[in-house]
């Protein structure tokens, strides 16, 4: 707990210093960075300590606020969720200073202040063990990230995005307010422990509590259709802030859901089904929308929706296992969910940092203006490639490990005689297969269009590799991707504690059950070893051949056309077109297609732009309708004083008559 307090105070200090030192941009950048990194490092150490020893640390104090008490507690679950927060915060802190190089004093001061506040608030949310404290930290988190989103507030689109974001956050908070006030009223205390105890003898309330939690936290996590804020907010924030938000903040939503689940005791079967359904929806729609994007960061944001879906699938399987009394299924389901939380924060952070590097080098994230960057930014390109392969779930990287666990759980479920479980397992298998394929397509497009081929714009062709600290922070994450991929058995085994807290079983039995899946993983890793060996062999072979035989550069095959130009390359829209037309019903692509005409066709083009149906079919119409209806209220206040007097008289007479009866 000591480390935690130190880290929070360091983060706060960093924010304050940044504000105080704003006249000197360099100084305040330095202060912000040092405090962010050191503070997060402290916090990380503390969290790891809890994870290793496995016993919770807590701190309670007096808090002068009725209906609340000051109670921080870091148990294994909290510690686990602190890892991505502090870990990513270290990396982004490293990254941020060079990313902000050249910004004015006020801008960088504000950004560092809010960045540190965001980290501190997230950490407090995770550590808070009291309803009111939790809400307070939760709102602070939303507010500080709001300021990060509206960082570039001169653009109208950014302002609109920030509005959308805070509205969504507040919508979620409304549900959470009801949730915690309700729990507080039945528990006559605002302490989480008391909640758990009270829920035991209010069985009737459990389902409504679960639904409230799912809605409240789901908005923050970005489940469909409450995901609309995500693709708006993440692209416009500074890239390392996007990394922090997408990598860590939406996980806080998952944490809340999981925390409530631990309080609820043995779940109902239909909760698991609901979670799986929501997860499937979010996963598939998320990746489909991503496929249709041509702004790199929007695309990544939609992938966050997809990955939240995968996480929910895992948790759903776990809940199903608990409800049906299948411990092994539950353990593996939760394990996959938790591991994916960690993995996603790693590779999504990496990808956003990569996108930030591209932004800084080319000053654009519009896919159709990029290309050929792997030649010009080899490091960034390689790291981004690793991140892409990881998020797609390709062996031998970390993404594959968590998806392996999930599919493993799916197969386990499929083998169960009970149809309810088997079908759930089948759904998980098919959905995950589909997601995997589509994600592969999407990142083939993203990486291929951005980094491969030849540049599609002058800026892209003059791109330079980014500063060393930015590269270093990406390298750290990339190495983590590989390490977890090849150290899969260890990674899975280390989940025992946190999974045990979910299932309520002892750590011993849980790790025994995890060992069941760790062994196959070990064999899988050995297969990957062979893979790498064969690849090296083949590479050496072709290298030797080419050493003897000639290797030269020439034009690519242009079907007889001798001077292919960058303009002739495949575009992102065309790459996605087969799939987007396939799922047109779902993603509402607005296509503009000018077909070639005549024997000697001159101008012809294909471009696609995707609107989010949740936005254009659900929210926007609702808001418009509401505006129309409400505006009718005008007639009440039309300025005629006589009628105003009439209101007073009418109210009086109405009341007199009403109470005379």
């Amino acid at each position: 707990m000591f480390e935690f307090i130190v880290s929070i105070s360091l983060l706060a200090l960093g924010g304050m210093l940044a504000i105080v030192l704003f006249p000197r941009a360099g100084m305040c950048q330095l202060a912000g960075q040092i405090c962010a990194v050191s503070g997060s490092a402290f916090g990380l150490v503390g969290a790891l300590h809890v994870l290793v020893t496995g016993d919770a640390v807590s701190l309670s104090g007096v808090w002068q606020m009725p209906g609340g008490s000051f109670h921080l507690e870091i148990d294994v679950l909290s510690a686990f969720f602190l890892l991505p927060i502090f870990g990513l915060s270290i990396v982004t802190g490293l990254y941020g200073r060079s990313y902000f190089a050249g910004h004015g004093g006020v801008a960088s001061a504000a950004s560092w202040f809010h960045l540190n506040m965001l980290t501190a608030a997230m950490a407090l949310v995770i550590a808070a063990h009291d309803g009111l404290l939790f809400l307070l930290a939760w709102e602070t988190m939303a507010l500080s990230s709001f300021f990060l989103v509206i960082f570039d507030d001169r653009k109208a689109a950014v302002r609109h995005a920030a509005w959308t974001y805070l509205v969504a956050a507040h919508l979620g908070t409304a549900f959470l307010l009801v949730l915690f006030v309700l729990l507080g009223s039945i528990a006559a205390s605002s302490d989480f422990a008391a909640y758990g105890a009270a829920l035991k003898d209010h069985q009737a309330l459990r389902s409504s509590v679960f639904l409230l939690a799912l809605m409240g936290f789901g908005v923050k996590a970005g489940i469909v259709p409450a995901h609309v804020w995500l693709p708006e907010a993440h692209p416009v924030a500074p890239s390392h802030a996007s990394a922090l938000m997408s990598g860590a903040m939406i996980k806080v939503g998952i944490y809340g859901l999981v925390r409530i689940l631990t309080l609820l005791g043995t779940p109902e079967t239909w909760w698991g089904w609901l979670l799986i359904g929501v997860g499937a929806l979010s996963g598939v729609l998320g990746v489909l929308f991503a496929l249709a994007q041509h702004d790199l960061k929007r695309l990544l944001a939609y992938h966050s929706v997809e990955n939240i879906g995968i996480i929910l699938l895992g948790i759903g399987i776990g809940v199903l296992g608990l409800a049906r009394g299948m411990p092994l299924l539950a353990v593996i389901g939760f394990a996959s969910g938790f591991l994916h939380v960690l993995n996603h924060s790693i590779f999504k952070g990496l990808l956003f940092l990569g996108a930030g590097a591209v932004q800084r080098a080319v000053h654009s994230l519009e896919l159709e203006e990029l290309g050929g960057l792997l030649k010009r930014m080899p490091w960034t390109g390689t790291f981004f490639l690793i991140g892409a392969a990881a998020i797609v779930g390709l062996p031998p990287l970390n993404g594959f490990v968590s998806e392996f666990l999930l599919l493993y759980a799916g197969f386990l479920a499929v083998l169960q005689p009970a149809a309810a479980v088997a079908v759930a397992g089948l759904i998980v298998l098919v959905i995950l297969g589909l997601i995997g394929g589509l994600a592969a397509a999407c990142f083939a497009k993203a990486f291929g269009i951005v980094f491969l081929g030849s540049p599609r714009s002058a800026e892209a062709s003059e791109a330079r590799e980014v500063a060393r600290p930015m590269r270093a922070s990406m390298a750290v994450l990339a190495l983590l991707c590989i390490a977890i991929g090849l150290g899969a058995p260890l990674a899975v085994a280390s989940l025992a504690g946190v999974v045990a807290q979910m299932t309520g079983a002892t750590v011993g039995t849980t790790s025994a059950e995890l060992a069941i899946v760790a062994r196959p993983l070990a064999l899988a890793v050995s297969v990957f070893a062979v893979l790498i060996a064969v690849a090296a062999l083949a590479w050496a072979l072709r290298a030797r051949r080419l050493a003897v035989a000639s290797a030269r550069r020439g034009p690519v095959w242009g079907c007889g056309y001798l001077f292919p130009s960058p303009k002739m390359q495949y575009t992102a829209s065309s790459f996605a077109q087969p799939l987007t037309t396939q799922f047109h019903l779902l993603i509402r692509n607005r296509e503009t297609f000018v077909p070639p005409q005549g024997y000697f066709p001159t101008a012809s083009s294909y471009a696609s732009d995707s609107g989010d149906p949740a936005l254009h079919l659900l929210f926007v119409p609702t808001f418009r309708w509401f505006d129309r209806v409400v505006t009718r209220l005008n007639v009440i206040q039309h300025g005629h004083i006589h009628v105003y007097i009439l209101y007073v008289a009418a109210t009086l007479i109405a009341l007199l008559i009403w109470e005379s009866f």
């Binding site: 209906g67 507010l143 001169r154 307010l177 206040q637």
Partner: protein
Amino acid sequence: MYASQSIIAVLALALSGALFCLVLPRPHHVLKTIVGVSVVELLLALNIWAAVLGPNGFVTAADQWFYIDAFSSFHIVVLTLVFALSSAFASIYFTHEAGGLVFTAAIARRFGVLWLGAEAAMLLVLMSNNLGIMWVGMEATTLLTAFLISLHPSRLSLEAMWKYLIICSIGIAFAFMGTLLAAASIQSDGGAGADALFWTKLASAEAHLDPTLMKFAFVFVLVGYGTKAGLAPIHSWLPDAHSQAPAPVSAMFSGFLLNTALYCIMRFVPLVQHAMGQDFASGLLIVFGTLSILVAAGFIVFQRDAKRLLAYHSVEHMGIITLGYALGPLGGFAALFHTLNHSVCKTLAFFAVGRLGQRYGSHEMHTITGALRADRLWGVALLISFLALIGVAPFSIFMSEYQLLRAAVGASAWLTLVLFLAASGVVFVSALRHMINMVFGTASRHDRGGRDGKLAVPIVVVAAGLLLVLGVWMPLSFYHALSSAAAVLAVRP
């Protein structure tokens, strides 16, 4: 100084200050005077508060004509605080009169007299034990503040002033009817006496109040003072008055005038509950509170003028406070807490809007953009006050609304809870959009000139600091003060 003297001193100071303003030659003399007076008033009020929170829990003066308990003393403190802030701001605001308006010495004197006079009247309302005198004070506030609205007579300000004057006079007349009925209700069983209008008498346990008359009385009082408090559907005067009055006056209006009216209503509630049980009064309060919240939420959606927007916010928050009073002791606690938060927050918001209005030459929201870049101090003030206003943590309004929700769930008033959350959601969505467009973005055409003077920063720091501190930490003494004030409403002395 003894509390009973300081009671007299508070009133005397306000009145003498008002008269003193008549003889001052220059505008800035007047402005300095009101600042000085109102600050001293604040200190005296704190002194009274401390005394009331002492052992016997109330202070009386002029044999029972003045009676101050925890409830009224809390309101007195809020009142003087709002006046101190607003006076300080007035001294900034009126030195930058824009749009061809001139703050001449004559206008300054009129302002000073009416301003301090209004403060005296409100203090009278809050301190008097006699419901009749309370009514007299209330009527006096109406008459005094009417000309503050049209300080610079113009078509619009006159229209607003006329509506305010007529509608509130009617309301106040009804309130007097209610007061008379209340007095009659104790006499109906022969218990006559010259002290029939004394609240302590009416509220005392042995007083027997006739339920029928009390019922009528409360209806008249509710509609009467409710008009002044701006409860829907009898709030029609409010947006006009707030939008046309000069910013400091608007701040004072929604910062405390409305609360004064609500205070009067709440003085009657214990009597009604004493006469005819819990439900009648709270039922009516819940209806009016919820209705106000809903109506205000609806109107906020399509406002164009920043000050009208704030006016409707006042309607909403008055509704919230009323709702709180109806929801039992915890609700009363929440309501009082909310009263302070709303007063501070709303005054700050009106300051910012007023000052920025002077910079941009209009209160139309689409002309005010990029406030942060046009005027950092007031831009930040606008940002903070709006965020607090729509209930974002870590500002104190979030906390008071949280307490309110607790009360609602405790009273298992589910429908109210849902309506409240829905309405505040609507308010959040639309008010946030307005705020973002005003505060952020590139600044539209505005006048850079005009130094704010050295009072500006302290005002903003005090108000914002209060909002922030109370949002994360409530001093124990403050907590006790609020609880005892809430207890006054439930338990009879």
